[in-house]
Amino acid sequence: MHLLISSVGDVTSDLICERLAEDVLRLNWERWNEYSIELDKKGFRIADCFGRVVTEKTIGNIIWRKPVATVDTEPGEFWYCFHEFKNAVESIISQIRLENQRKIPIDPLLNATADKFKQLRVASQHLTVPPWRFTTTPSKHIGTSANVVTKSVTGQPIPGTGDFSKVIYTTTVDPTELADGFPWFLQQEIQATHDLTVVYVGGQHFAFTLDRNLFSGMDWRKSIGTDEVDESWQATTLPKELTDSLSNIMNALGLRFGRIDLLAFNSSCDDVVFLEVNPNGQWAWLDPFLENGLFDAVVDFLISR
């Protein structure tokens, strides 16, 4: 029995559960009080309201989805109990990681692999990486690069900026207008024809391109929800030289899974620059009809021994 950690709003988990049927117990964080849990020095037992049970003896893999739902933002007993419960589950996961790390094929807690700067250093040994700098004194670097974008290293929202806290997408900036005293990740602006995203699944490459003429601005994520973007990612085959380079980067980072973002200067992807790897990146929207092999490959990977 696999243990899938997620939240109710995660459609990708819906699809995975449908595929795995009776072989998975889905634990939705925000419904923690619908599960029973026992944990002592000998092991653990988690059961759901459907009668599915997972123990230290029966557990297969842990499928740890990224979203963690907000659970009652008002501090109180429910909030307290959720964090007690969550701590116990995370302890169970830690023990499983200790015993057999491969039982957690995608592990969000391996933060080292999410180190963007390490990624850029490693990737530059295999692919072109646009010049970059992290600085709290952008005024010192004015004039060093005419066309600059800024982006978030962590993707964290900024609290207190509305009902849905605002985020920073890749944005063209004039470095002369950036305030000193704030952390800025700056990178040379690249005028490419296509976004290229590659889902790396245990050595397999599933590549998709998006024509950058289909949206405005630098970051396609601003246009999620529009037909022009949502329906326009095209599966593509990469040159072997590029897949070799990507495999080398992933091996050097110690990653078996990740979504690699690049920019391409043509649709054949024989001229690209590397941007980043998201070790727990979203992927299911690239195979919404379960027809191009990506979904099957990821599910196989998630339950592999």
């Binding site: 559960c17 952008p138 800024t150 900026t161 997408y169 900036v173 305030a179 000193d180 994520r221 999620i224």
Partner: protein, 65 residues
């Protein structure tokens, strides 16, 4: 020093719906006739839609999205 004024909040924008709850996935799932009871989320209102389901896992008539 310059007269710089932009801080991170100045250039932040409202986030788009996360791709993991985007509508294409949801529509695909509906076409597959997923039994919501198997998904452990019955009934559910996701961030992607306010579509609700009856006890047989069928979409209710009125899609409130």
């Amino acid at each position: 020093m310059t007269t710089s004024q932009l801080t991170p909040k100045s250039i932040a924008v409202k986030p788009s719906a996360a791709v993991h709850v985007s509508l294409p996935e949801y529509d695909a799932k509906r076409q597959l006739g997923v039994d919501r009871a198997m998904l452990h989320t019955t009934p559910v209102m996701t961030r992607a839609t306010t579509q609700t389901y009856n006890s047989k896992g069928q979409p209710n008539d009125k899609d409130q999205d």
